[in-house]
Symmetry: C2
Subunit: 141 residues, 2 copies
Amino acid sequence: MIEGVQIIPLKRIHTDNGDVLHALKATDEGYTGFGEAYFSEVFQGVRKGWKRHNRMTLNIVVVMGAIKFILYDDRDGSASQGKYFTIILSPTENYSRLVVPSGVWMAFEGVAPGVSMLLDIIPEPHDPNEADKAPIETFKE
Amino acid sequence: MIEGVQIIPLKRIHTDNGDVLHALKATDEGYTGFGEAYFSEVFQGVRKGWKRHNRMTLNIVVVMGAIKFILYDDRDGSASQGKYFTIILSPTENYSRLVVPSGVWMAFEGVAPGVSMLLDIIPEPHDPNEADKAPIETFKE
């Protein structure tokens, strides 16, 4: 595991007319404020990344399909410096919230047929200057 | 239209690896604070409701399938008292955010094959005492 990363199981509440799925409460562990909620789609076998947020904690929930997340820690002084962490999340097989602290590199890949989709809740509205990008071949897990 | 209800078109930003879809920013019209984000699924031809929130404004985005929303205003003193408003939202055909003020009754129905899903962002964590429910046959649009 990478220091500061959290995987928090979420509840799916069954009703006969369709389920209710928890995503994030302001009182939840890992919540750091609300700036923006957005969705990101990714196709099967396609990898988006790498991206590193330098101020913001990410709160990520997979709402459609299945997505593999690959995290890489190159933070100086981190107990997990140099380590990778991967996890597959989906609304049916592993419905959990992924908390990614600032400073950790992330890439993600669709691993279900067609398009998969995540919800990300971030503590500030999107700011391209707050994040760094690196080509997908930069780090190899 | 019902007084206080807003339909705000949202951006879908195309990328070759999968689109990014805006949902809600803290600086957006209709935002009233963050208490909780949750998903609700609904099957085709099934109607969930009626429900009326007495304190909270709802910010609703349809993320999967297509959902028909039926709103009913029975608020004393409202310019639209006695009026119904219906709209179909979907991430592909009509990608917009529906803002429902407190005091307005809402029901919704899946209108795409299989299961449809909405995201709702509310300014307080879920509180069953904050909402009223009525059987689906109570109001007829």
